[in-house]
């Protein structure tokens, strides 16, 4: 498709892993060694995120003009503001 990134495959992979560890019939695939291995990469997540922050193009992002800064900040603020609205709806339904 010419898209230089993963478009949802990660989400499906996560769902697969969650389903495998939730169903009794597939849970036995996760031997202690396997679980330990996956847990290792789970913990490795923090260093990866820190390294990822260190290679962001932060200087270019904040010096490429007012549009980028406004269009980057304002939607985030709106989204933060409406989180309580969406979650309270969910609790009422449940």
């Amino acid at each position: 498709m010419g898209i230089p990134s993963n478009v949802g495959g990660v989400g499906f992979a996560m769902m697969l892993l969650i389903i495998i560890q939730s169903l009794p019939s597939t849970k036995k695939w996760l031997l202690p060694e396997v679980s330990k291995g996956i847990d290792f990469w789970n913990k490795m997540y923090i260093p990866v995120v820190i390294a990822m922050s260190a290679v962001q193009n932060a200087y270019a992002a904040f010096s490429s003009g007012f549009i980028a800064i406004m269009a980057g900040i304002i939607p985030v603020l709106i989204c933060f503001a409406i989180i309580p609205l969406l979650t309270s709806k969910n609790i009422r339904h449940v």
Binding site: M1, G2, I3, P4, S5, N6, V7, G8, V10, G11, M14, M15, L17, I18, I19, S22, S35, D39, F40, W41, N42, M44, Y45, I46, P47, V48, V49, I50, A51, M52, S53, A54, V55, Q56, N57, A58, Y59, A60, A61, S64, G65, I67, A68, I69, M70, A71, G72, I73, P75, I78, C79, F80, I83, P84, L86, T87, K89, N90, H93, V94
Partner: protein, 252 residues
């Protein structure tokens, strides 16, 4: 002759691990001594990393933060999207399927809401600043979704390289703002349960920002937020160059 630089460049990934270890050690000291554990250690570490990225970007004018210094080039491998996606999948080990089923519908709703808000706010801001043609507005609006949706949409619609650069910058600003604001606002928006984390991930959409922001807030919530956020880029790449462009094209 023994050359230390060469050894560092050859073992880039190891240098990156040591570097991250040093950053974490410093933030542990800062978190404990200076802030008496009120600010999570990981939040400080990510902030330090962002400041380093900003400063090296200022000096080298490169694109990859600290990795533009050859001795630290291993950071692109450790912090690249391959290991990021791989470790995010591994965080699903701690997720609970019943929690996800419970929040599934509002998670999907938040995904759509997040893309709609980001796109149309971004496009409006582009319009206010004088980019009043549908292609530029769509590209900058798409950049306000994530920094991948922006260039994908821009090149699909044939936007100018100047506009594509703005859209990437918009996405990177968004990722950084989400990273910094999440631990700050987590208490206010009650981001302390899987359902809220899924709604939050879907609304914000930027996997990098959500992944780092939640790591700095509470690592147990990472799988829920990341799960909905990882679908956002795909949905954005699908909607922005097609439906959203047609809508804007109709009006402008």
């Amino acid at each position: 002759m023994f050359n230390l630089n060469e050894v560092f460049i050859k073992n880039g990934l190891i240098v990156a691990f040591v570097g991250v270890g040093l950053i974490l050690w410093c933030s542990d000291l800062l978190s404990g001594r200076l802030f008496r554990n009120r600010i999570p250690m990981v939040a400080i570490a990510i902030l330090i990393a962002l400041v380093i990225a900003y400063m090296t970007g200022y000096y080298t004018r490169g694109k990859n933060g600290i990795a533009d210094l050859a001795v630290f080039s291993g950071f692109t491998l450790l912090g690249g999207s391959m290991l990021r996606d791989f470790t995010i999948v591994a965080t699903a080990m701690n997720a609970d399927w019943t929690e996800i089923k419970k929040a599934g519908r509002s998670g999907f709703l938040s995904l759509l809401t997040g893309i709609l808000i980001a796109f149309f706010t971004g496009a409006s801001i582009a319009f206010i600043f004088g980019y009043d043609d549908a292609v530029s507005m769509t590209t900058i609006g798409a950049g306000a979704c994530t920094f991948i949706v922006g260039p994908v949409t821009g090149s699909a619609l044939g936007a100018s390289s100047e506009v594509i650069t703005i859209s990437i910058a918009t996405g990177v600003v968004k990722a950084i703002v989400v990273t910094i604001l999440t631990p700050v606002l987590a208490g206010t928006i009650k981001l302390n349960n899987p359902a809220t984390a899924m709604v939050y991930g879907g609304l914000m959409g930027t996997t990098s920002g959500v992944a780092a922001g939640l790591a700095a807030t509470n690592p147990l919530l990472v799988p829920y937020g990341a799960l909905s956020a990882t679908f956002s880029t795909g949905l954005g790449c699908l909607l922005c160059p097609s439906l959203f462009y047609l809508i804007l094209n109709y009006f402008f």
